[in-house]
C-alpha cells in the first residue's frame, strides 16, 4: 500500500488585501487576501518550513527529496540540496529539483507515487505579475510537503488507489525565462482544452481505483485557469458540496504548490475511509484517487492550515511591490553585505543550514555556533552536535536597529535564550516590534538573509510563537541532543 505518510503546508506570515491594489496600480486587485512571502523568504525557504512541519509529525525519514517550483532561487545549482541540508538528511538521500512549469509540482507527486522508498515531495511557489495584473492579485505564496511511502516505511494515512494523466500541447499561459510576468491566450480556448482533459483524467483514475464519481467524498480541483477549474469541478459527476474550497479568497493560487497545499488541507480535516480525488489542470490534467486510512487520526498536524490562516498579518501594497522587486525604494545608505564564502558555508553546513550547535558532553554547556573548546571548563573536542532548529527560546533582550543594512529595514534583533540551554544573538522576522516584550517565546525559521553576487545567504532567524500554533516541545531530550523526533 503506497500513499501519503505525512503532509504539511506552510503559509508565509504576510497577507495582501487585494482591495489595496487598485488605488496604487490604477487597476486590478479584487476581494479577499493573498499570502505574501516576506523579503527574506524564497521558494527554498518556504519549502524548508513545510518540510520541517511534515517530518516533525512522523518518524519516517525520506530516501529522496524532490523539490518543485516555478520560481527557483537558483538555476544550474540544485535548490533541493538546501532543503536536504536544512532537514539534516543523510548524504545518501537523493535531492533533486522538478522545476519550471506549474505542472512540475503534481508531476513530482506522480513520480514519487510511481517510485519506491519514502520520498518527500516539496512544492513551493511565489506567484507574482505586473502591478495591477490578474496574476498579481490571484497568485499566492505557499509551500506544501507530502511524504510518500509504503506501509513498511510508516503508517500510510491516505492510500493511493489510482492515478491517471492526460497530456496535450497547447498554449494557455506561458513565460519566457527571465520574464517577470506570464502571458495568456484567450481564456475560452484554454477552457475548451482543459475541460475534456480533466474529465478524461478523472475518469481514468477512478476506473483504476474501481470507483465512480459518486463515491468521491472530497474533490480537489487545482489549476491556474480559474474558469476551467470551476467548469471541470461541475462536470465530472461529483456533487457540488463535496468540492473542496480552493482557498483562493484567502491564500491565492500558489502555482506548483497548489495541489500539495489543497491536498494537505483536505487531509487535515478528513476522517478515515474517505475518498479524495485530486485533479490538477496544467498543460493537461493529472488525477489522483486516494482513500484515507484509520491511521489518519494518529497524524497530528504540527501547525494546522486553519491556524496559519488565522495568524497572518497585513503587508502594504507598497511593501509588497518592493519585496517583489517591482518598486525600488531608496536603499539603506550602508555598504551592501559581502557575499558569503562557499567554502566557509560548506565547512559549517550543519550550523548554517540546520542550526546545529554543539554541547559539552561533561558540563552540558550549549555553544551556538558549535565550538571545539568549551566556554565552561575549557574541555577540548568533547562536544556532541546539538540540533537547535526545533527548540524554542525566549527573548532575553532585543533592539530595533535602523542603522544597519537590511533588504527591508529596520532590523529587529534579539538575544534569544533557548529552553534547555544555549543563547544566540539573532535577527527576528515576521514581527512588529511594538508587540514584542522581553520574555516572549520565539521559534526558529529558515530564511534568506540577503543575496550578494547572486549568492543567497541562507541562515536562521527567530519569529514570535503565535497563538494558533500547536505545541512543540520546548526542551531537547535530557539524555542526548534534540532530534527531529523531539519536536
Amino acid at each position: 500500500m503506497r500513499g501519503i505518510i505525512s503532509h504539511a503546508s506552510y503559509l508565509p506570515h504576510r497577507r495582501l488585501d487585494r482591495g489595496t491594489i487598485a488605488a496604487v496600480a490604477g487597476l486590478g486587485g479584487g476581494k479577499g487576501t493573498r499570502t505574501v512571502a516576506s523579503y527574506d523568504e524564497d521558494t527554498t525557504t518556504l519549502g524548508v518550513e513545510a518540510a520541517r512541519l511534515a517530518l516533525a509529525a512522523t518518524d519516517c525519514r525520506p530516501r529522496a527529496v524532490w523539490f518543485s517550483t516555478v520560481a527557483p532561487a537558483y538555476l544550474d545549482k540544485t535548490n533541493a540540496t538546501a532543503l536536504h541540508a536544512a532537514l539534516r538528511l543523510p548524504g545518501d538521500v537523493l535531492a533533486a529539483d522538478f522545476g519550471g512549469a506549474i505542472r512540475s509540482g503534481v508531476a513530482a507527486l506522480h513520480a514519487a507515487l510511481a517510485g519506491g522508498g519514502p520520498t518527500l515531495v516539496v512544492t513551493a511557489d511565489i506567484r507574482t505579475g505586473l502591478p495591477g495584473s490578474a496574476d498579481e492579485a490571484a497568485g499566492g505564496d505557499a509551500a506544501a510537503a507530502l511524504l510518500i511511502g509504503d506501509e513498511v516505511d510508516g503508517a500510510v494515512i491516505a492510500e493511493v488507489l489510482g492515478t491517471a494523466a492526460a497530456t496535450d500541447e497547447f498554449l494557455d499561459r506561458w513565460r519566457t525565462p527571465g520574464d517577470s510576468r506570464s502571458k495568456l491566450w484567450e481564456e475560452k480556448f484554454g477552457e475548451s482544452r482543459y475541460v475534456p482533459l480533466g474529465q478524461q483524467a478523472a475518469a481514468a483514475a477512478l476506473a483504476v481505483a474501481g470507483l465512480d464519481a459518486a463515491q468521491v467524498d472530497r474533490l480537489v480541483v487545482t489549476g491556474a485557469h480559474e474558469r476551467a477549474v470551476r467548469a471541470v469541478a461541475r462536470s465530472i459527476g461529483v456533487p457540488a458540496d463535496r468540492v473542496v474550497d480552493d482557498l483562493t479568497t484567502s491564500i491565492g493560487n500558489p502555482g506548483a504548490a497548489q495541489p500539495g497545499l489543497l491536498l494537505s488541507a483536505t487531509l487535515e480535516d478528513a476522517a478515515p475511509g474517505q475518498v479524495v480525488l485530486l485533479l490538477s489542470l496544467a498543460d493537461g490534467a493529472d488525477a489522483l484517487v486516494l482513500r484515507t486510512t484509520d491511521a489518519i487520526t494518529a497524524l497530528v498536524p504540527r501547525r494546522p492550515l486553519a491556524d496559519q490562516l488565522a495568524s497572518g498579518a497585513p503587508v502594504s501594497y507598497g511593501k509588497f511591490l518592493a519585496w517583489r522587486g517591482m518598486l525600488t525604494p531608496e536603499p539603506p545608505r550602508r555598504p551592501e553585505p559581502a557575499r558569503p564564502s562557499a567554502s566557509a558555508a560548506n565547512r559549517n553546513e550543519d550550523w548554517k543550514f540546520a542550526f546545529v550547535g554543539s554541547r559539552d558532553r561533561a558540563t552540558g554547556a550549549v555553544h551556538l555556533p558549535p565550538a571545539r573548546v568549551s566556554m565552561d571548563g575549557g574541555a577540548v573536542d568533547d562536544m556532541e552536535p546539538f540540533p537547535m532548529a526545533d527548540v524554542r527560546g525566549r527573548i532575553a533582550t532585543f533592539t530595533v536597529d535602523k542603522l544597519v543594512y537590511s533588504p527591508s529595514p529596520p532590523v529587529v534583533f534579539a538575544v534569544v535564550d533557548f529552553a534547555g540551554g544555549g543563547r544566540a544573538p539573532i535577527e527576528l522576522t515576521d514581527v512588529d516590534p511594538s508587540e514584542l516584550a522581553v520574555g516572549d517565546e520565539v521559534e526558529m525559521t529558515f530564511r534568506r538573509l540577503f543575496t550578494s553576487d547572486g549568492i543567497h545567504n541562507y541562515f536562521w532567524k527567530a519569529r514570535p510563537v503565535r497563538s494558533g500554533t500547536t505545541t512543540t516541545s520546548t526542551q531537547p531530550s535530557s539524555s542526548g541532543p534534540a532530534t527531529k523526533e523531539d519536536v
Binding site: 545608505r333 550602508r334 555598504p335 553585505p337 559581502a338 558569503p340 564564502s341 566557509a344 558555508a345 565547512r347 559549517n348 550550523w351 548554517k352 554547556a365 550549549v366 555553544h367 551556538l368 555556533p369 566556554m375 565552561d376 532575553a396 533582550t397 532585543f398 533592539t399 530595533v400 536597529d401 535602523k402 542603522l403 544597519v404 543594512y405 537590511s406 532590523v411 534583533f413 538575544v415 535564550d417 533557548f418 540551554g421 544555549g422 543563547r423 544566540a424 544573538p425 539573532i426 535577527e427 522581553v438 538573509l449 545567504n457 541562507y458 541562515f459
Partner: protein
C-alpha cells in the same frame, strides 16, 4: 605566572593630537605627520632619535609602511597593530613594553584613522570572508540592549534612565564645547537630547560617538631617561588588556548590565598600579563612551560606583568637569569624535594635558589634590558579550 606591569618604569615624554573632525582636506599622511611632529616637538627630539614605531590603525592601512612612508623613516622597525577600537591604546602598550624591555631606548606610538573617505556615515568594518551567519547588527544596536537590561535589573524607571543617559551626552558635549580639538563644540541640553528620534533601540544619534578623522601620537622612554626629554613626563603606572572570549554572546548567564572583560581589565590595572581605592586616587578618567549606556556601565565596571548606583552618581554630577572624579573632560568619544586607531592615544593626550597642568583654565579639572592625582584611560572595542578592554593608569610623579 602573573601580570606584573611596568609601574613607573616607562614615561611619556611627548604627545601630539590633531583636531578630530571630518577632515575632507587631509589625508592619512597629513594626520600622522601633524600628530607625530607635535610629539617630536614636545619631546625635543626627531624621527631619527626614535628607535622603533608602532602604528595603530584599525582599517586605514596595513603594515608599518604607511607610517614609514609618510614620515620617511629609514631603516626603522614599524609595526602596525589593530585591536578593534582599542587600537591606539594597543600601540602605546607595545611601545611601552619595548622600551621597558631594554630593546629600544625611544619608541613612538602613532594612532590614526581616516574614516570619512568611505562615503558612508558611521564606521564600517571591511568584510572578512565568512559563512554568512555572523550577526547583523550595528554597534549602536548592540549597545542599545544595555539600557533596558540595566533599568530592569536595578529597578530604574526607563524614563529616568533615558534622562541619565542624556545627561552623560550633555556633560560630554559641554566638555567638548570648550575643547578646540573636539569634533562637536555645541552644548546640548538633556531635553534636546531626549527629544531626538531613536535610531537603535532607544538611542538617538546623540547617544552615539562622533565619527571623525584624526591622529594622536606619544613618545615613550624608560623613566630614568625621561628628564632628558621633558621636565614634566607622565609616568605609566599600569597597562592592562583583556580580550574577551565572546562567551557573553552564547552564555545565557550574561545579562547585558556589565562588561566582564572591563571589570577584569580594571582589576588588573589597579593591581599593577598598587591602587586599592581607585575612586579616591583618580583625579580624572577618560573612558570609552562609544554610546551613552556604555559610559553608564563603565562607571561600575571601573569601580567608580557600586553596582546599580552609577546612574545616581551621574545625576548628582560626580563625574562632571567640576565633580569629584571628572570623566571625559575632553568631551569623550561623544563630542571629541572617534577616529578608531587614534582614540586611545587621544585619551592619554587629555591626561597629558590635565595632569601636567596644561589644560586651559576654562576646561581644567579641579579634582587633583593630595593622593587624588592619577588619571585613568579606558578604551574598549567590540560589543557587549564580545569585547576587548584596555585600561591605563598614568601619573605625573613616580611613587617614592
Amino acid at each position: 605566572m602573573a601580570s606584573h606591569g611596568i609601574k613607573d618604569r616607562v614615561a611619556i615624554v611627548g604627545m601630539g593630537c590633531t583636531a578630530f573632525a571630518e577632515h575632507w582636506d587631509k589625508g592619512l599622511d597629513d594626520l600622522m605627520l601633524e600628530a607625530s611632529n607635535a610629539a617630536f616637538a614636545e619631546a625635543g627630539t626627531t624621527k631619527q632619535e626614535v628607535d622603533a614605531y608602532w602604528l595603530g590603525t584599525a582599517q586605514s592601512g596595513m603594515s608599518g609602511i604607511p607610517l614609514a612612508r609618510a614620515l620617511q623613516l629609514e631603516g626603522k622597525p614599524v609595526t602596525r597593530v589593530e585591536n578593534y577600537c582599542a587600537t591606539g591604546s594597543e600601540a602605546l602598550r607595545q611601545a611601552s613594553y619595548a622600551v621597558a624591555s631594554g630593546a629600544y631606548d625611544v619608541a613612538m606610538a602613532v594612532g590614526v584613522e581616516k574614516v570619512k573617505d568611505s562615503g558612508y556615515q558611521g564606521l564600517n568594518a571591511f568584510p572578512i570572508p565568512n559563512d554568512g551567519t555572523a550577526r547583523t547588527l550595528t554597534a549602536a544596536g548592540s549597545f542599545s540592549m544595555v539600557a533596558p537590561a540595566y533599568a530592569a535589573k536595578y529597578g530604574v524607571d526607563p524614563g529616568e534612565l533615558r534622562r541619565v543617559l542624556a545627561r552623560i551626552a550633555s556633560k560630554n558635549h559641554a566638555n567638548g564645547a570648550h575643547n578646540p580639538r573636539a569634533q562637536f563644540r555645541r552644548e546640548m541640553s538633556v531635553e534636546q537630547i531626549c527629544a531626538m528620534p531613536a535610531v537603535a533601540g532607544d538611542l538617538s544619534v546623540f547617544d552615539c560617538a562622533g565619527v571623525a578623522d584624526g591622529a594622536a601620537a606619544a613618545i615613550v622612554v624608560r623613566a630614568e631617561d625621561a628628564h632628558r626629554f621633558t621636565d614634566r613626563p607622565l609616568y605609566v603606572k599600569a597597562l592592562s588588556f583583556v580580550a574577551g572570549n565572546g562567551s557573553g554572546l552564547v552564555d545565557p548567564g550574561y545579562d547585558y548590565t556589565w562588561f566582564p572583560e572591563i571589570a577584569a581589565c580594571a582589576a588588573d590595572a589597579y593591581a599593577q598600579a598598587g591602587i586599592d581605592d581607585p575612586a579616591a586616587r583618580l583625579a580624572m578618567a577618560e573612558v570609552h563612551d562609544c554610546f551613552t549606556p556604555t559610559e553608564l556601565v563603565l562607571m561600575e565596571d571601573l569601580g567608580f560606583s557600586a553596582r546599580g548606583t552609577a546612574w545616581k552618581d551621574i545625576e548628582a554630577g560626580r563625574f562632571d568637569l567640576d565633580g569629584e572624579l571628572p570623566v571625559n573632560p575632553d568631551g569623550g568619544l561623544k563630542s571629541f569624535g572617534h577616529p578608531v586607531g587614534a582614540s586611545g592615544l587621544r585619551m592619554m593626550f587629555e591626561a597629558w594635558l590635565q595632569l601636567r597642568g596644561e589644560a586651559p583654565d576654562d576646561r581644567r579639572i579641579s579634582s587633583i589634590s593630595g593622593d587624588r592625582n592619577l588619571a585613568l584611560t579606558h578604551n574598549l572595542g567590540g560589543y557587549p558579550g564580545e569585547m576587548v578592554s584596555f585600561v591605563s593608569i598614568l601619573g605625573a610623579t613616580p611613587d617614592a
